[in-house]
């Protein structure tokens, strides 16, 4: 974002950036930046907390009125209260057994998508939205497409204009979003770590994606290797061999 700030300011538009990684703005030195102590992905802090988000936004915008730059770099002093786990949260029922092997893991993934459907629909009803839809496939179809990859197949892309590896990546994103939205349905507000622990360590979808990563890494297709190595399982969740 530091580079974007430089380009826009150079064209005559005042900019202020939020920073989640302080060393990067110390290197880039954008015109104005507010460093925030939040998790990557949440530059304005906790969801469903308008007063907190407003404080972050206003603290950043107020830097536009300062005359003592360039460069202005300030720190935001509050932590994200939603980073704390909520012990009242109960993980959703998952269909995962002790499946191993591509066929069993794929079947578990498809079954779990069905098990979570009611919770997913509750999520849409309570939040008024879903972030599922990047692949353009309906959830059962995106699960089926990912499952075929987990089975070791290389299914052609049913979406015009999307290569098979690209659609696989988008369908993986949709499976994650569907499962995590279903898991967050209800009145209890789990932390992102709670949701991530459940998805990557307990769910059938997570188990299938760990296996998909390994399968694609063993492929001769360099593009699949690239996607598998970087864009399926978060670095912090990759299982190391024992």
């Amino acid at each position: 974002m530091g580079a974007l700030g430089h380009y826009l300011e150079d064209e005559g538009i005042a900019t202020v950036g939020i920073s989640l990684i302080r060393p990067q703005i110390e290197n880039t030195k954008p015109p104005r930046a507010l460093w925030v102590p939040f998790e990557l992905g949440r530059p304005f802090g906790p969801p469903s907390n308008p007063p907190f988000q407003r404080r972050v936004l206003l603290a950043a915008l107020r830097l536009l009125e300062r005359q003592d730059g360039p460069v202005i770099l300030e720190d935001f002093g509050e932590d994200d209260p939603r980073a704390r786990p909520d012990s009242a949260w109960i993980p959703p029922v998952a269909a995962r057994g002790n499946a191993t092997g591509g066929d069993a893991l794929a079947a578990g993934l498809e079954a779990e998508i069905g098990v979570l459907q009611d919770a997913y629909l509750r999520w849409i009803e309570q939040s008024g939205r879903t972030t599922v839809g990047v692949s353009g496939l309906a959830p059962p179809d995106s699960a089926r497409y990912v499952a075929d990859w987990v089975r070791g197949k290389s299914p052609p892309s049913p979406q015009e204009g999307y290569s098979a590896p690209l659609l696989m990546r988008f369908a993986v994103d949709d499976v994650k979003a569907y499962s995590l939205e279903a898991a967050a349905a209800g009145n209890v507000r789990p932390s992102s770590r709670q949701l991530g622990d459940w998805f990557w360590e307990e769910s059938a979808a997570g188990a299938a994606l760990h296996a998909l990563r390994e399968t694609c890494l063993a492929s001769d297709d360099e593009r699949l290797k690239l996607i598998a190595g970087n864009f399926i399982v978060p670095t912090a969740r990759v299982r190391t061999a024992v």
Binding site: G12, I13, T15, G17, L20, P31, E39, G41, F44, L166
Partner: protein
Amino acid sequence: MTRLTDLPAAQAKRLAEAECPSFETRPWVNGPALSRRRVAIVSSAGLFLRGENPFRGRDADYRAVPSETGPERLLTSHISVNFDRTGLQEDWNVAFPLDRLKELAAEGTIGSVAATHYSFMGASDPLAMEPHARELAGRLKSDQVDSVILAPV
């Protein structure tokens, strides 16, 4: 995980030491009081509108998000899997604070909200973004925007 120090050591080191472009100049634009400014959001969350063109790979261009867009239309195809998406799933304002910006305009804290906001995909090469960012500046000026809040993920 909340801060860089909470990430796995290798990932934190890679992020902290990521190669960033260095610039010989330090551009700086002054402006009127906040209450007279017209503000746009420029995100790097890889945001696009449902049914439109997602970011593929490391596309360096941008997508437009009109101010009247509802949260149900906003999706992300950011290539990175190493940032939290559950916050954005619950409330788009964690990364795209359009509701908060509109509230600040309604109470007069800022002058007005831009007609259109924009998103890049932050894992793209910053140098490849440059022509698109400079072209975007023209669009922003056409909308009378004089200030931008840059929102990463």
